[in-house]
Symmetry: C2
Subunit: 150 residues, 2 copies
């Protein structure tokens, strides 16, 4: 059951969303399946690349971030999916053993005009590594249910 | 070895990138791992949702699209990673059994000023279902090597 509604997200509010560590095996597995570029799947070729070693697919960073967002923030919300995202920025490579910490900042909540039971939540996601350095940022949107009048 | 360089991508050029079918098992597997919202992981809850049935995580659509982009377009290019993407739009739900077809349209190529061996390729990705309906669009960018002078 939803316990957070559109009204529970305050613009400017910051919601921590936990952290996750990525192993070399996980980076290779994701890369082989979804993004088999040499610097994601071949440690030797990766060493010879401009990255100097294996790095995670940016889409793996997005996927593990999404899992944390669902577990820590949106899983308890009356979430109804998303129309899309803007401005994904991969700011630094993610390497084997890195631990990523995720936080969400609420940008805006806007009740729908046509559908009074829901609205759009716009938010920014920041993903930092274990040294506090930004590795990814993203601006997203979700349809979120409004608190029912009982 | 790279066989396509920045110079080989003509603005306006359209590159087909193949197609992929998504099974219910694959949708459930991805959802459980990365995006465990009810309409991605629980067929019964999905039926009661606004989607009326199970739908794929938008991030799964992105991930299988990326695989096709690497296999059909960027895998042969001197690709050096990506600074990010803009404007991912999930336009229609992707349901079990849907077949997604991907094409890339080149928007712009811009040689780097500071690094003469590479440039930025900006492109649009369109993902249609088996009925020719748009399910996702995305505007992305990649660093691509320039053709060496031999």
């Amino acid at each position: 059951m939803a316990t957070r509604y559109l009204e529970d997200f305050e613009p400017g509010g910051v919601h921590p969303a936990g952290s996750v560590q990525l192993s070399e095996d996980e980076i290779l597995e994701f890369g082989r399946r979804y993004d088999p570029q040499p610097f994601h799947v071949d440690p030797e070729a990766a060493r010879a690349s401009i990255y100097g070693g294996l790095i995670a697919s940016g889409w793996q960073t997005v996927a593990v971030t999404m899992r944390l967002l669902v577990d820590h923030v949106f899983g308890q919300a009356a979430n109804m999916g998303s129309p899309g995202v803007d401005e994904i920025r991969w700011l630094r490579p993610v390497r084997p053993g890195d631990t990523l910490s995720v936080r969400v900042t609420v940008l805006e909540t806007r009740p729908s005009r046509s559908k009074p039971d829901r609205g759009v939540l716009r938010f920014r996601v920041d993903v930092d590594n274990q040294d506090g350095e930004p590795t990814m940022s993203m601006v997203g949107a979700s349809f979120v249910g409004r608190r029912p009048h009982i």
